[in-house]
């Protein structure tokens, strides 16, 4: 058994050594460290903070936490699925490597790599102690906490990788496993802030909090930490990692015994597609619209009729919740009814392809982004989220107001829509590479650039629900903001408008960089392209923010020293933005050409 396991481990380590992505990741981490160190040094020089070592260590800790979480969503999720995708799992079994050997041999190198990434930081982080504000014990405790968290993430990634047939599905499972507790946490905190529960409930919740790596890090980083470097969180995470590993071993044969036949699942989606088409969804929306209007207008009256409370006293958030829930639940039901009533058309299940350049939009919308079913699910999901936000803020916190609700909608819509667009664009390009269709696609009588735009349009079509949510939220956030600026002619107003404008432009450019990075990585690596793009964007953003802050500070200090006064102040505020916009624009253009060139190259190779 161990011969096979060792062979697999050796192969894994060699493979990782050859992969440029691993080295890029290490360089990225080193880059972060240097950056944080520079900021700490600058802060100590300028006497900007009381404990530069603590700030430095906080930054490193947070980056590590984010990296480990993202690694759980991507790095560990392909442990077994990559063998499934390459159809080599059967060969490994035939070579006499048993399931335990495969799991150990595949997970081992990844775990070693991840732990080594953490271990190599340890000597350098001791600088935080030298800079002041952090104790050796705290450094040890943080790294032990993170090591436990890595083991847990490895276990979660491994079991998802055993269950799922593809890395993408495994990543989705892990993301859900990570994000669901976060959402629950948000919900539970909402409940606890407004409702009093018996002590037993609090005890149970506290017991569960020992699982939380965030709680543990908060405790460790608190002033005067004097506890053991090894906390309960470490033991629980190690135990959970081991249980997940054993669980993966137990279900391994069941999940991988039969080769995956994609035809079956495709048949199901094919049949669903056959019933639910965009036309059915459109009809359902037309039917739902008056129902929503009726709920909006009649809810307060209906509630007051039932409860006897005057309808003026019915909280507004309840109306919002009622409308959102009606849409979230009603739309799928009405769509299903419409689809059942409507006779199934012969020929193409999803209707005829849209002509010319729009044909690619049609293809991506229907075959990459889930088509009408995906759109229906998204509308329901975003409505549900909007309703939940209103419910938590109104019923539980008692602090609902339209601007706060709109801000949440804007934020969730913008982040959700951007992630959806990135994911859809990435998947669309990746699927072309995987199914070796880039050559046939680029041979169509149109340029690669127009092809790329069509793919972006296909992705944008999927984010219509998120886009609508962002627009509604944005309207309620920005219109009052602009109104508050007041007299547009004054110098103060102009400065404010300028800053808002630059913020928006910089934000849009940052989103564009993220999308382009996703597209480029999708054409370069097999999995984890969204995560890698996210990390790179975060790095760029952090670098930009730090450099911008330093420039502003430098400008202000220089201005006050030379007596430059107001003009220097404005320049110190505006110049970093202009610089950031300029650099981001250059990156956007360069990435666009890089993507175009990459597609051309891949098409020539396939």
């Amino acid at each position: 058994m161990f011969r096979g396991t060792l062979a697999l481990m050796t192969r894994g380590l060699r493979f990782d050594c050859r992969r440029w992505q691993m080295h890029a990741l290490r360089f990225l981490l080193v880059g972060f460290f240097l950056l944080f160190l520079f900021v700490a040094w600058f802060s100590s020089l300028a006497a900007l903070g009381s404990a530069p070592g603590l700030n430095f260590f906080w930054s490193i800790t947070f980056t590590n936490y984010a990296f480990v979480t993202l690694a759980g969503m991507s790095f560990f999720t392909s442990t077994i699925t990559e063998e499934k995708e390459e159809q080599t799992l059967g060969l490994l079994k035939m070579a006499g490597v048993n399931p335990l050997g495969i799991l150990l041999g595949k997970l081992g190198p990844r775990l070693v790599n991840a732990l080594l990434l953490l271990a190599i930081q340890f000597p350098f982080v001791q600088l935080a102690v030298t800079l002041g504000g952090v104790l050796h014990r705290q450094v040890q405790a943080v790294y032990i906490t993170l090591a436990g968290y890595i083991v847990l993430m490895a276990g979660v990634g491994l079991i998802a990788s055993v269950i799922a047939h593809h890395t993408r599905r495994a990543a989705l499972l892990v993301s859900s496993a990570i994000l669901t507790p976060l959402a629950l946490q948000f919900f539970v905190y909402g409940i606890f802030s407004s409702v009093t529960f018996p002590t037993g409930v609090y005890d149970t919740i506290n017991w569960f909090s020992i699982w939380s790596v965030v709680e543990r890090l908060r405790t460790v980083m608190s002033l005067g930490f004097d506890g053991s470097p090894i906390g309960q969180q470490f033991y629980t995470h190690m135990a959970a990692g081991a249980v997940l590993f054993v669980g993966s071993w137990l279900i391994f044969e069941r999940c991988t015994g039969q080769p995956h036949s994609p035809t079956g699942s495709r048949e199901v989606s094919h049949n669903v597609r056959r019933r639910i088409r965009f036309r059915s969804l459109g009809t359902a929306m037309l039917i739902t619209a008056p129902v929503l209007l009726a709920v909006l207008l009649a809810y307060s009256h209906a509630r007051s009729a039932i409860t006897g409370i005057a309808f003026q006293r019915v909280p507004t958030y309840e109306v919002v919740v009622a409308v959102c829930l009606t849409l979230a639940v009603g739309l799928p039901i009405i769509t299903l009814i419409v689809a059942a009533v409507r006779p199934t058309a012969a020929g193409s299940d999803i209707g005829e392809c849209w002509p010319s350049a729009r044909s690619i939009v049609w293809k991506d919308l229907n075959f990459v982004s889930g088509g009408a079913v995906g759109m229906m699910v998204r509308v329901s999901l975003y409505s549900l989220i909007t309703g939940l936000i209103a419910f938590v803020m109104g019923a539980l916190s008692g602090e609902w107001d339209l601007t706060a609700q709109a801000a949440w909608m804007f934020g969730v819509g913008l982040i959700g829509g951007t992630m959806e667009l990135a994911s859809s664009l990435g998947r669309s390009l990746r699927s072309e590479v995987q199914s070796q269709t880039l050559s046939t696609l680029t041979l169509l009588p149109r340029s690669i650039r127009s092809l790329l735009w069509a793919k972006v349009a296909g992705g944008m079509a999927t984010m219509i629900p998120a886009g609508v949510m962002t627009l509604i939220g944005g309207a309620f956030v920005f219109v009052p903001l602009i109104r508050d600026i007041g007299d547009f002619g004054s110098r103060e107003s102009l400065t404010s408008i300028l800053v808002i404008l630059m913020t928006v432009v910089a934000g849009v450019l940052e989103i564009l960089v993220f999308l382009e990075l996703t597209a480029f990585f999708a054409l370069t690596i097999r999995w984890g392209y969204v995560v890698l793009a996210l990390i790179c964007t975060y790095f760029m953003n952090t670098t930009g923010w730090i450099v911008g802050t330093l420039l502003s500070l430098g400008g202000l200090i220089g201005g006050s020293a030379t007596g430059g006064g107001r003009i220097v102040g404005i320049l110190a505020m505006v110049l970093p933005w202009i610089l950031a916009i300029g650099i981001a624009s250059a990156v956007v253009v360069a990435l666009f050409y890089a993507i175009e060139s990459r597609i051309r190259r891949l098409a020539g190779q396939s």
């Binding site: 392809c353 002509p355 044909s359 041979l443 009588p445 020539g604």
Partner: protein, 366 residues
């Protein structure tokens, strides 16, 4: 007397060999005669300019392409006549796929030129793309689509209107005999059927020129035979077909002309029949008689045109060799008929393409 190969009109030794597909006379890249072309030309020999050929379906001149330090294609020149079926043969790594990708605009020529129906692939890329249909050597498919959805997508992408798309999809499905599977998911189709769908996809924009890279690779014998039948039908419809394949026996039967490439250099380009007829010593004919003819071997030897005649083992077949220059189907046939013996068949013995291929290509791995 039956199964006699129709006599070929006498041709002067000075006559240039017919071009590919019976087209205009063609000269080898080295400017040599077709007989000379059988000898592998040294890779460094300077190619001579091809005759002007605006009418050629494909006109490749001095084409070179390099991947890093590796010269994949080195000053390659050849032409393909319209409405012909042209084979493209070579060992693994010879540069076949690179040439195909250069012709179909997936790669840009680094030096030299490629014209498709007179249009430069580098400068008139979009026009060329409208005229060609390229089928790569792998299944390039959206497997989650049905056959109709797949074809409809490509037809729409080529800008066909709805009515035309319905008609074209019906036509190509009928041609490829996939009409009964139009609503099947591509992922559920067999390899042979997927290959047919690939061929149907190539045809949706009604291209004049089909570029097929290893279309029969991995297919079972039935699927291969059916594919060849479809290609024959397409040739009859007036399409020019440029086919790269390893299955030499089928190419020999199917193609009008052939280009043999090895290590990035053209070893032969011309009519298939010329290649197969080439023999270093003499033209060889095969005579078959229905019953035992005592002394026939000696009587054949006595003929003026015959250099040697031998019986093939214990059969009723004789192999007759003519002296070089004397090979004329008509003259020899007339002489044999003059012997007043019953003849079952009389035909020129052709080399196998395998033999020609082995002669022209070099051993060893690139």
């Amino acid at each position: 007397m039956n199964d006699i190969t129709p006599p070929v009109p006498p041709e002067s030794p000075a006559d240039p060999s017919p071009g590919p597909g019976g087209g205009p006379p063609e000269q080898a890249p080295g400017g040599s005669s077709s007989a000379d072309r059988l000898e592998p030309s040294p890779p460094t020999s300077e190619p001579q300019p091809l005759p002007p050929s605006d009418e050629a379906a494909i006109d490749v001149r001095d084409l070179s392409h390099r991947f890093g330090n590796h010269m994949a294609v080195d000053r390659v020149s050849f032409q393909v006549t319209p409405r012909s079926l042209h084979g493209f043969v070579g060992p693994n790594g010879a540069g076949k796929t690179t040439v195909l990708k250069l012709i179909c605009t997936l790669l840009k020529p680094q030096t030299g030129s490629v014209h498709v129906h007179g249009k430069d692939v580098d400068r008139q890329t979009k026009d060329v793309r409208r005229q060609i249909g390229f089928m790569p050597d792998h299944f390039s498919m959206y497997r989650q689509m049905t056959v109709t959805e797949y074809l409809d997508f490509f037809a729409a992408a080529y800008g066909l209107n709805t009515a035309d798309r319905h008609r074209v999809i019906g036509d190509v499905l009928a041609l490829t005999d996939m009409d009964g599977r139009r609503d099947s998911l591509i992922s559920g189709l067999s390899r042979g059927m997927q290959q047919r769908v690939g061929l149907a996809r190539v045809l949706v924009n009604d291209p004049d020129l089909l570029l097929l890279d290893e279309p029969a690779s991995g297919l079972d014998p039935r699927a291969r035979i059916e594919l060849m039948e479809i290609l024959r039908a397409l040739r009859q419809m007036g399409k020019t077909i440029f086919i790269s394949s390893h299955i030499l026996s089928e190419l020999a039967e199917l193609c009008d002309s052939v280009t043999i490439i090895d290590r990035g250099h053209i070893r032969y380009s011309g009519a298939m029949r010329d290649l197969l007829e080439q023999n270093s010593d003499a033209a060889v004919y095969r005579l078959s008689v229905p019953e035992e003819q005592p002394g026939l071997e000696e009587r054949l030897l006595a003929l003026e045109e015959v250099v040697s005649a031998e019986r093939i083992e214990e059969s009723l077949e004789f192999r007759i060799s003519c002296s070089p220059g004397a090979e004329s189907d008509n003259r020899l046939l007339a002489a044999v008929l003059g012997l007043e013996i019953p003849i079952e068949s009389f035909q020129k013995e052709l080399r196998h393409l395998n033999e020609a291929f082995m002669d022209l290509t070099e051993q060893g791995v690139r």
